[in-house]
Symmetry: C2
Subunit: 225 residues, 2 copies
């Protein structure tokens, strides 16, 4: 069985991506990050999602991005609330975390290399998204090229490292439809940036999620404040 490393944040996109990888026949090795995020409770969702998907391994890497800061998710900056989708489309918001997906993919690459895996799955999308540069296809393609130059696995030519981003061109509604087909339990996922007891329903991440469920004609099983 081919192994794949799947970045699992605990959110709905990464859970859907993991279900797609499983459906494609991969044995799943999840990787998650405890990086000082405001909404560290997403890690509990990541663990639940990994278990629910029958992952063969789940590695949680801890480091502290609060020493770097520069983001509403890791620094003393307020998470913006109640923004409309067209506002989200204007520029890169303060919830952007500097170089986050580059860091996450780099660790996934190390994990893949040690496992002998050549496939890494990441749940980025550039349709209904928050304007983060590291969620775009051209970033993913460039990282894939770098990965093949960076590693023993890439250089020795036993296989080509591939970064799969199956949601990159899917809107949230299509992502949710695909996930529901595959039996993803969205009650186990967590999207809210604020990280309180219940999802806020007001941050960009909650709003994109709720709009996606509405457009898919489905009910979001999460409780909102």
């Amino acid at each position: 069985m081919r192994k794949a490393v799947v970045l699992l944040s605990g959110g709905m996109d990464s859970a859907t991506t993991a279900a797609i990888a499983k459906d494609e026949g991969y044995e799943l090795y999840a990787i998650s990050f405890d990086y000082g995020q405001r909404h560290a409770r997403e890690l509990e969702s990541a663990k639940a999602a990994a278990a629910s998907l029958g992952a063969a391994g789940h590695l949680i890497i801890a480091f502290d991005m609060r020493g770097i800061g520069g983001s509403a998710l890791t620094d003393e900056i307020d998470v913006p609330l109640d923004r409309k989708t067209d506002e989200m489309a204007e520029g890169i918001p303060v919830t952007y975390v500097p170089a986050r997906n580059t860091i996450f993919l780099s660790f996934a690459l190390a994990y893949a290399e040690t496992l002998g895996a050549f496939d890494i799955f990441i749940g980025v999308g550039q349709v209904d998204y928050s304007g983060y540069p590291d969620c775009r296809a051209e970033f993913i393609e460039s990282f894939e090229r770098t990965a093949n130059l960076a590693t023993k696995a890439g250089v020795e030519g036993k296989g080509k490292l591939r970064i799969h981003a199956p949601l990159v061109s899917l809107g949230k509604a299509d992502t949710i439809r695909r996930g529901l087909e595959l039996g993803v339990d969205y009650s186990l996922t967590w999207s809210c940036y604020v990280g309180s007891e219940k999802a806020c329903g007001r941050c960009d991440s909650c709003r994109l999620r709720l709009a996606g469920f509405a457009a898919a004609g489905a009910v979001d099983p999460l409780e909102y404040a």
Copy 2:
């Protein structure tokens, strides 16, 4: 004054690279990594080198690569000793740490973005080296391209992120000569992989260092076991 982020391992190459960046007029922000390496004592050398160079900041990021393993530097694998330079040139040795420079550069990228810096210096070289794929110019160039696609700093076009690798085409002897010209205090640096009280003189890293000092006609100020 332009800011630069400099990867500072505590070794002689990164100390020389930092001195070059300083000589080019940058204000230095050092970054080092406590990643579960066998030779964590190199971090004391990194702190000493940062102080000696007058760095304006020094960030140490801690994470544990022992959960990933796959290297003699982070796993229960012996560090090879007494290898000749031509043996080192054959293949990628067990001291290779999966995706290490990709991870390190990703954190440096995050730090640079938060500081408003567009220049990152890394002391990789591909002349007298251990065959690590992530020390080669083509990897550095590809990472630079990825960095500009990954970040707000790169995408907003206020500047181009540059990864400087001033030693990439220099042999160890030339590196040492350049460092001595710039006043680098090599007694503050640490290269040995084994991480005992004194440098072993037998691992690849010690052997490359000693051969470099000999070829430069200089005396290595470190004590060897």
